[in-house]
């Protein structure tokens, strides 16, 4: 059966088809050191045959706990369920004995976990790990099991199956491991598989491959899928129906188009408004959801979202909202649908507006090159790392670029492409193996003592991981004050006032000064990190994936803050990220990196409207867009293979292996960067 998502016929079919799984009034809690966490509260939903049901929400909303409690996979104790039914094939899974439940696990319901790196047993051959699903099946002979495993491994797109069967997980790439996990979940042809963030730890191109695979398998095998994710792009790309969870409750439920285009809950709407989208005007401001999710030790009596909701009414604080049915498939738990409630029109995000304006318009956009001197000039930088033996890892292999005063240069690429190494070389954390970097015409790796001090003041960095970027033994005051005192920007006497001013700038206050970092949330920590960078009045800041570890609603807070600070203080950014939509929103120009090389560099809009390099095109096609209609109509590029090992690469273009346009020449020679339009540079033989 083929599904055409979004069509009326598909919707009818879904509603008509039988229920595979029905969850009724599930409540699940954990006993912890600090009290009982009520992780899931009174959640009911069902999954139909062959459908993909998405469960979306931010970290801590209870989506994973819900999914895992279906198979009782949460650790018990401390976890315990205090009510509810889970009906699967006419049985209540909650009432089954553990022995009976084992016959469901793996056999009738498959499970795919988030991180394929840690979800496979490192000391067991992957083929055996898949075969283990049939462990309790006495009716199957050894070779029959092996055949089934091999067939399923082929099915999920693993080449060279006989060899792979006997390999250990550490010998496989991340994408390959996730395919093994999928094969494991599917090998017994279950009627339902549960995917818990299956692509979160993978690069976008691999993510796209895995999502396509799941869609394909669903169509072929008619398996129902529950897809847990925080990424609305993934939801838009593959889900038929969606549940939105917040604070342990389902706040909205509906067909994917209903959720995106007829959004009824303020939280869902807030999420959609807070994500940076590819189609966003870069001068617009993201609308973050202010505040932080509720404390689940003592969840609010009323609506969990009340405190952060701009339509909050008195009733929301005292009464949990009823669930209102808008159409058969679309349900929302919000007091705004109550008969007493005022009529409210939610501020919808603008629809994706494909390819407006002409190509020429984007190139004629003012580019700063003409106006200003380059602040940072990178010339032929190479940075190699020795790996064991004689092997050399060429993390950055000949990169040249310029960053002009007041602009933001976005640096994009998948993990391991060398973007962070480049960022660290620019901030002097690493010495280059070859090449030079100029800051205002001075080579930064051979500065005199005084110049060095100035450099460390003027060039700063913001880090990715909000948990490791603050010293756990220092107070916020010490963290933010360290640089000021070092560079003589404040004396002890006026230090407090200055720190307070900085904290106010990033939305924190005086009362936070004496606190230690472990008391802050991820978003708050990231803001403290920004305050530290700002404390020495820098000119140039390298932002190394500053939002990728944060929830979407918090991402918007931080991105907006960075944009505002740039305007207020005239900062220049090098913004490193793997997420093209965030980069587009904040950058003036973008450079795309692949295996240590910059393959394309262009003004932001030009890159998106008129991408030249096959790799850029691939990246653009792989990003999941949080808009179901756009995803459906999007031109798809077939993605071949995975990023090869950066150790001892061949002489040719590094992308040649995966490139649809590659010719013999591409395998023999490495292309130089050339200009294809004004300010638009590409390193490829096949274009221009």
């Amino acid at each position: 059966m083929l599904w055409t998502r979004g069509s009326e016929a598909a919707k009818d079919k879904l509603i008509m088809s039988e229920k595979v799984l029905e969850v009724k009034n599930l409540t699940y809690s954990f006993n912890t050191y600090g009290g009982t966490v009520k992780a899931v509260r009174d959640v009911s939903f069902s999954v139909n045959r062959g459908e993909i049901l998405g469960i979306v929400g931010e970290s801590g909303c209870g989506k994973s706990v819900t999914a895992q409690s279906i198979l009782r996979l949460n650790p018990e104790p401390p976890g315990f369920s205090s009510g509810g039914e889970i009906i699967f094939n006419g049985h209540d899974l909650m009432k089954l004995s553990i022995k009976e439940l084992r016959r469901v696990r793996g056999q009738e319901i498959g499970f795919i976990f988030q991180d394929p790196m840690t979800s496979l047993n490192p000391t067991m051959k992957v083929g055996d790990q898949i075969a283990e699903v049939f462990h309790s099946r006495r009716d199957l002979k050894r070779h029959e099991i092996r055949e089934k495993v091999i067939e399923m491994m082929k099915h999920v797109g693993i080449s060279d199956v006989e060899k792979r069967y006997n390999q250990y997980p550490h010998e496989l790439s991340g994408g390959m491991k996730q395919r093994i996990m999928i094969a494991m979940a599917l090998v017994s042809r279950p009627s339902l598989i549960i995917c818990d963030e299956p692509t979160t730890s993978l690069d976008v191109t691999i993510e796209a491959q895995i999502l396509d695979l799941l869609l394909e398998l669903r169509n072929e095998l008619d398996t129902a899928i529950i897809m847990i994710t925080h990424d609305l792009g993934v939801i838009a790309k593959i889900c038929d129906r969606v549940l939105v969870m917040y604070g342990g409750k389902i706040v909205e439920e509906g067909m994917v188009d209903e959720i995106f285009y007829e959004t009824a809950h303020p939280y869902t709407n807030g999420l959609l408004n807070s994500i940076a989208r590819l189609d966003m005007d870069k001068n617009s401001v993201l609308t973050p959801i202010e505040g932080t999710p509720p404390d689940l030790f003592s969840p609010p009596a009323g609506c969990p979202f009340a405190a952060r909701c701009e339509y909050c009414m008195d009733v929301c604080n005292f009464f949990p909202p009823k669930t209102y049915s808008l159409v058969d498939s679309h349900m929302v738990s919000c007091h705004l649908k109550h008969e007493y409630a005022p009529e409210v029109e939610l501020k919808k995000p603008r629809r994706h507006n494909a390819e407006a304006g002409s190509k020429q318009a984007y190139y004629s956009e003012p580019v700063r090159e003409h106006k200003e001197q380059a602040l940072i000039t990178v010339e032929g930088i190479k940075r190699y790392f020795k790996v064991s033996g004689r092997a050399v890892l060429k993390a950055v292999d000949g990169v040249s670029l310029k960053v002009y005063k007041g602009e933001t240069l976005g640096l994009v690429g998948e993990s391991g492409c060398g973007k962070s190494t480049l960022g660290r070389t620019i901030t002097r954390l690493l010495n280059p193996t070859e090449g030079r970097i100029l800051y205002k015409d001075k080579e930064i790796h051979s500065l005199s003592g005084e110049e060095e001090n100035i450099f460390h003041q003027k060039v700063q960095m913001i880090f990715q991981n909000p948990y490791s970027s603050l010293n756990p033994r220092m107070t916020v005051k010490e963290i933010v004050g360290e640089g000021m005192l070092l560079h003589g920007l404040a004396t002890d006497a006026i230090q407090d006032d200055k720190i307070e001013e900085l904290l106010n700038r990033v939305g924190l206050g005086k009362e936070h000064m004496s606190r230690f970092s472990h008391e802050f949330s991820g978003g708050q920590r990231q803001r403290i990190g920004i305050a530290r960078a700002l404390s020495v009045n820098p000119e140039f800041i390298v932002c190394d994936e500053p939002v990728s570890a944060l929830d979407v609603s918090i991402q918007a807070q931080v991105i907006n803050m960075l944009k505002k600070l740039q305007e207020d203080m005239g900062l220049t950014y090098l913004f490193i990220a793997h997420d093209l939509s965030v980069v587009r929103y904040i950058s003036d120009r973008i450079a795309v990196m692949y295996m240590g090389h910059i393959v394309e560099e262009a003004p932001t809009e030009a890159l998106f409207i008129d991408p030249q390099h096959p790799y850029t095109k691939l990246l653009l096609s792989a990003i999941p867009v949080a808009d179901p209609e756009v995803t459906r109509n999007k031109k798809r590029i077939e993605i071949r293979g995975e990023v090869p090992s950066p150790i001892n690469p061949g002489p040719g273009c590094l992308f040649a292996d995966r490139c649809p346009l590659a010719t013999d020449r591409c395998f023999k020679e490495r292309p130089e960067q050339k200009m294809v339009e004004n300010h638009h540079y590409v390193a490829c033989f096949q274009v221009g």
């Binding site: 198979l71 696990r105 000391t123 067991m124 283990e132 462990h135 790392f385």
Partner: protein, 310 residues
């Protein structure tokens, strides 16, 4: 894998060489030149002269010494006239090896079982008892344990022979006394390692596959949890070996440890040095075996890991 083994063998050889050289030069710096002192009987003095060759220049002495060790010649005793260290080792080592192997088997098997039981019953009374046993075990030095067992089981209750090594019932007390400390540390490490593994994602994967608890514990948990225990096997062998020094003297077992302790108290320097080299070499080889074993059990070790900075 071959590369890994070669690397380990090379490292072991270097270590051995360093140990031997240190021993050689220590003899030279020893105060009072015990090997040439006038107290020695002429026969012993001649033996010393023959083995160490004091009349030759130092480098020559060194080369000769290494050569002799390579032939397995550990020198002469200063106390027992005309007996070589090799003779004594040959006579006594079988007793020590027998005792040591018994103790190791007891320590590792019971230690693993105790650790596994403890971890599987985390938080309840069984776990509590296992943890108490383990903590007490690591708090009682083996010579005290040896004395206690001898006193209660041998002297007070008369259940088992007090001393000597002449049959199975004679081996029980010394091997248990020797094993106890190691047993306790193996069980502590196994317990914490089991608890760490049980929180790993792949255990959840195994659960989601519908495997029985027995299979999860057996095929997934123990297999991975045992790694840290294997790493500490080298030090374990060393601990058991040094433990034999005191256990053998308490139970009057004619093993190598007893001789070693005796030579210490009678200042039989050449014997101490010869036996030290033997012990050192023995332990280095044990470590080598453990390293190779580790490479076999854990597939990840065989592949070289990248070094971060250049």
């Amino acid at each position: 894998m071959l590369k890994y083994v070669l690397k380990r063998v090379l490292a072991a050889l270097i270590t051995l060489f360093v140990l031997v050289s240190v021993v050689f030069f220590m003899v030279r710096v020893m105060p009072g030149e015990p090997f040439t002192s006038a107290k020695l009987t002429p026969a012993v003095a001649a033996n010393m002269e023959k083995y160490y060759g004091f009349d030759k220049p130092l480098p020559v002495q060194y080369v000769q010494y290494i050569g002799k060790l390579l032939q397995g010649d550990f020198g002469y005793s200063m106390k027992y006239t005309n007996r070589t260290v090799n003779d004594i080792i040959g006579e006594t080592f079988p007793f020590s090896a027998d005792l040591g192997i018994r103790a190791l088997v007891i320590a590792i098997s019971f230690g693993l079982v105790l650790g596994i039981i403890s971890a599987l019953n985390r938080g309840n009374k069984i776990d509590f008892i296992c943890v108490i046993i383990a903590i007490i075990g690591t708090s009682v030095p083996d010579f005290i344990m040896g004395a206690f067992l001898q006193y209660f089981f041998g002297i007070k209750w008369g259940l088992l022979p007090i001393a000597q090594y002449k049959g199975f019932e004679y081996t029980i007390l010394p091997s248990v006394a020797l094993a106890f400390f190691t047993l306790a540390s193996v069980s502590r490490i196994m317990r914490s390692s089991m608890l760490e593994v049980v929180g790993q994602d792949y255990i959840k994967t195994a659960k989601a596959k519908g495997l029985s608890d027995l299979r999860i514990v057996g095929r997934h948990q123990i297999r991975n949890a045992i790694m840290p225990v294997i790493t500490m096997l080298g030090p374990t062998v060393a601990a058991v070996l040094t433990g034999t020094f005191v256990i053998e003297s308490i139970y009057a077992i004619p093993g190598m440890g007893k001789y070693y302790v005796e030579s210490v108290s009678t200042n039989d320097y050449s014997m101490i040095l010869g036996m030290t080299v033997f012990y050192g070499a023995f332990l280095i080889i044990c470590n080598l075996i453990v390293d190779i074993l580790y490479g076999i059990v854990d597939p990840r070790v065989r592949i070289a890991t990248p070094v971060e900075d250049s």
